[in-house]
Point group: C2
Chain length 107, copies 2
């Protein structure tokens, strides 16, 4: 049951995806979401609610994550299949490079 | 004969690389540089000199391109081997996704 608008993946540009991924906090968010869909509080850590909302919106607008309502929570998942179909290999390469680059979560 | 400072690739972060790549003009620059080292005027097109300089600096500071003097020109090349060693697969995936995303050069 989705109630947040998500863009059509065919309208997303490569520059938009790379720009959205080009931030350490957002890279940590996608690394966590890649493991399993997560509720928002899982990403919160030391971030303020408004900062987290901003990062989530950038990732959502770039077609990288999807957020859907589940009860009182929003579950965040990667749009992995769609992104892989549109920009093959990019998300995988980014996720593979992540552990070496950011060994610790921000929180 | 290099006279422009280039960062040590080991100091570059993944976020920095992705952020530098996350711009349509800079994607077009790396697509051209991927074919062969190019003099600056090859990238100029309709860009002003200062705009082109800015984009080149962002790419250089993110360890993506190298610029070296050759006679009166600066030749721009990708730091492909170094980037591939540090962030395997990313540059290749980006270059492969480019033709579909930007069918025409800006100039």
């Amino acid at each position: 049951m989705e109630n947040i608008p998500h863009p059509d993946i065919s309208k997303i540009t490569l520059a938009q995806v790379l720009s959205a991924l080009g931030d350490p906090t957002r890279l940590k968010i996608i690394r966590m979401a890649a493991k399993a869909p997560q509720p928002c509080h899982a990403f919160q850590g030391k971030l303020s609610k408004s900062t987290l909302s901003h990062h989530m919106k950038v990732l959502r607008d770039a077609g990288i994550i999807t957020q859907c309502e589940q009860g009182t929570q929003h579950l965040t998942s990667l749009r992995r299949k769609e992104l892989d179909a549109r920009f093959p290999g990019i998300l995988n390469a980014v996720l593979k490079s992540l552990p070496a680059d950011s060994a610790h979560d921000p929180h």
